[in-house]
Symmetry: C2
Subunit: 463 residues, 2 copies
């Protein structure tokens, strides 16, 4: 069954939308739901990949989702559960009949079952574990003993290995006679007698080599083993950095316990980016399918932090109430200095957070980067001091206000550059994710410094 | 040669730093440079992967980089060039002697050469093309005729294909007798007589099947072909969505012209994320290695846009100068309403931009998402209206100022939720990358609405 045989049909392709979930298809699926036409629903959904069906369920509202799952019935595949967003996974599992759930779960690889059950509540977890065969259940339960977000949770337990002294002929005979091989594998892992991995041989090289060639001679040059407790983010980084396709996972004694393949590492890389971008914006873990109240709850904490820092900035303004009372133009201009500082700080911050995530910013160049960001702040501060000085002068008549806003602009953009780079670096050194809330800290600094510099200089020189 | 044989040594592992570029190693490399000790440099750098050497060059300053490349000499590998960040690639190419450059480039696969030369200036491009063998040069020049960021630029030209009617035995005999096979390949692509791909067979299944089994019978279920002009971002999305390992690329007539493997798709996914996060922050394309002046130049445009929007917000304040003159507390409190709106707007915006990028936000659920974001804005607006109403009342004595700030907070957070989600959706519909500058537009809206609502209500009810 070629379920995704996307024969090229360039004429039918839009510019933007290559999604298999076309409006027309969704309309037909909805029609099948309305008319309770199971045959039609199956026919329409048959060409869809599990990932697309998961997207369809995510994009439906709760009512359609319930109807869809009920009508789709026993066709429901375990892979759909794997692909579903966490936020509706529990809901969907509860909608499945025990028989459909058991059938769906039994098809999955051990790593997919682990991914599925690790976030579920005890009752659902038990229902799924009970549906598995004994040997499979043991593998899954073993994996669950490793820490969350570790290589042990990510790895597949089914590995293809060979003694290091084997020849190509030995490997071919072994593979051709093997009772059961994993669904997807790309390498044969060479191991020493104590089960320590010593190298990877690609299937392509085994195919192409003479039977009497030793496997050791055609091992891949790049070879990494992954400790079972290694953080999954580091695993994704390794795959991306070294272009790995699969890598063996080893326990504390260095013995082979599993294998991680690049498709899982790619999914982790994607999740890590999601986390970074969400954390930078002060948004919690939530997805598009969370309810209004859940979403509100996720976002309140950072709004509360922001409120406190905004009150801090207001307190700085309050110090200069008398000056503002005498010269209201100060109230009009002060947000400009703060806003420019916030913007410049966010630029530096984002570059620093990203460089820390990709390990491009390290101990060896941190001094240079901090200096560069500060100098960029100085140059951009001077540029916008000129612009804003002129604007202030024209807008409010005299040159004095222009000088003050120009000076405050330079001060705030230099501070923005330095703080924007230094705050994430410090958070990283303290073992805190630099994406987490650093934006709020940096804008607090630029608000406070911006208001203080502008209003302070104005009070000294103008009022 | 197992150049990265990272034997597990858990006791030696730090919590944070798994980089092979340890401080100790860098110190030894620097010592080799100082003492001009080529043997020592080679020995120290021998275990490093090309990607790590590229990182080392990126993290060095320009002076050390020059010395390092000069001393490293003919050991310089083409893969290092592939791994280097664009910002210093030209510099490094200029530092290589023509012989070393030619030698380095000749080892690379066609897709890596394309990636290398596409951003170079004509003179450097020519130097590299001239170093290639004729057949290789033709392949590279063909690839360069495809649009930038298309599948055609990303694909490898070396493919392993078989007629669709072959059996496992035919494929094995073909592979074992092939003169030259690509360095990395995981599938045999089945093609019809007109060279249209009809399916993928993994090497693992070929190995495991009996010789008389037809290849068609063991094809993978999931099969996608990629049009050669497809945007590389869409390609990366497909690999991630469908867990592809490799996929054939076809021309306008649907004929097989190349193959894309997941490691390249993963690198694109990483780049796309980088672009999103940088664009959200209003930072240009630059890297950590750009000079101070280049960096300044990249960041000035969005700062200039921000200045204009900040002046717009100031103009709103200027309308209410008289009110502020009468009640200076307004100047103290007004940044709080604007800041909370900006923060809430950025939260909605980030969720929307990310959901658009992952194709989770589509025509079928956009109404629901906009409604949800607006309702979340309303709820959070009410929460912080209560808090800030109480703070305003205590801070400034009377209840009236508390009512006004509370009302302005609700208005601004509702607008923030709606605008934060709607602006990226509208940009996407217009074919503009929603990450590009949407942050500035959203905060402009929340600044203007925040100041206008707060100062306007205050003018009507308090002054």
């Amino acid at each position: 069954m070629a379920d995704e045989d996307e024969h090229p049909a360039p004429e039918a392709e839009g510019i933007e939308d290559h999604s298999p979930l076309s409006r027309r298809l969704i309309a037909r699926i909805m029609y099948a739901l309305e008319t309770n036409d199971r045959e039609m629903l199956w026919a329409e959904m048959e060409p869809l990949h599990a990932a697309d069906i998961a997207d369809l369920l995510e994009q439906s509202n709760a009512y359609d989702r319930r109807r869809l799952i009920a009508l789709y019935g026993q066709e429901f595949d375990g892979d759909i559960l794997s692909e579903l967003d966490d936020s509706i996974r529990e809901e969907v599992i509860n909608l499945l009949t025990p028989e459909v759930l058991a059938e769906a779960v039994r098809d999955l690889d051990s790593d997919d079952v682990v991914d599925l059950v690790e976030d579920l509540e005890d009752q659902q977890q038990e229902a799924i574990l009970n549906a598995l065969e004994d040997s499979e259940r043991t593998l899954v339960q073993q994996s669950l003993t490793y820490p969350e977000y570790s290589a042990g949770r990510l790895m597949q337990r089914e590995v293809v290995m060979a003694p290091e002294h084997w020849t190509v002929g030995d490997a071919i005979d072994f593979l051709r006679n093997a009772e059961e091989l994993p669904e997807q594998f790309y390498h044969v892992i060479l191991v020493d007698p104590r089960l320590h991995p010593v190298g990877n041989v690609t299937l392509g090289r085994i195919m192409a080599a003479r039977r009497d060639v030793a496997l050791r001679e055609i091992m891949e040059e790049t070879f990494h083993t992954i400790p079972v407790t290694r953080d999954e983010g580091d695993v994704a980084y390794m795959f991306n950095q070294y272009h790995l396709i699969s890598a063996p996972v080893v326990d504390e004694e260095g013995r082979l316990v599993g294998v991680i393949t690049i498709d899982d590492a790619m999914a982790v890389l994607d999740d890590e980016h999601e986390e970074d971008i969400m954390r930078l914006a002060g948004v919690g873990e939530g997805g598009l399918n969370d309810s209004v109240f859940e979403t509100s709850k996720q976002r309140v904490p950072w709004l509360a932090v922001n409120l406190m820092t905004a009150i801090l900035a207001s307190a700085v303004i309050a110090v200069f109430e008398a000056s503002i009372g005498q010269l209201v133009a100060l109230a009009v201009l002060m947000p400009i200095v703060a806003s420019m500082g916030g913007n410049a700080g966010t630029q530096s911050l984002t570059v620093a957070v990203r460089a820390l995530a990709t390990k491009d910013l390290t101990g060896s160049n941190v001094g240079r980067v901090l200096l560069r960001e500060t100098l960029v702040g100085l140059i951009n501060g001077l540029i916008f001091a000129l612009v804003m000085g002129a604007v202030g002068r024209v807008w409010f008549g005299g040159p004095e206000l222009g000088y003050v806003i120009a000076a405050a602009m330079v001060i705030n953009l230099v501070v923005a550059g330095l703080a924007g780079a230094a705050i994430p670096v410090m958070m990283d050194r303290m073992g805190i994710d630099p994406a987490l809330g650093s934006g709020t800290f940096v804008t607090t600094v630029t608000d406070v410094v911006g208001f203080f510099a502008f209003l302070g200089l104005a009070t000294v020189f103008l009022v």
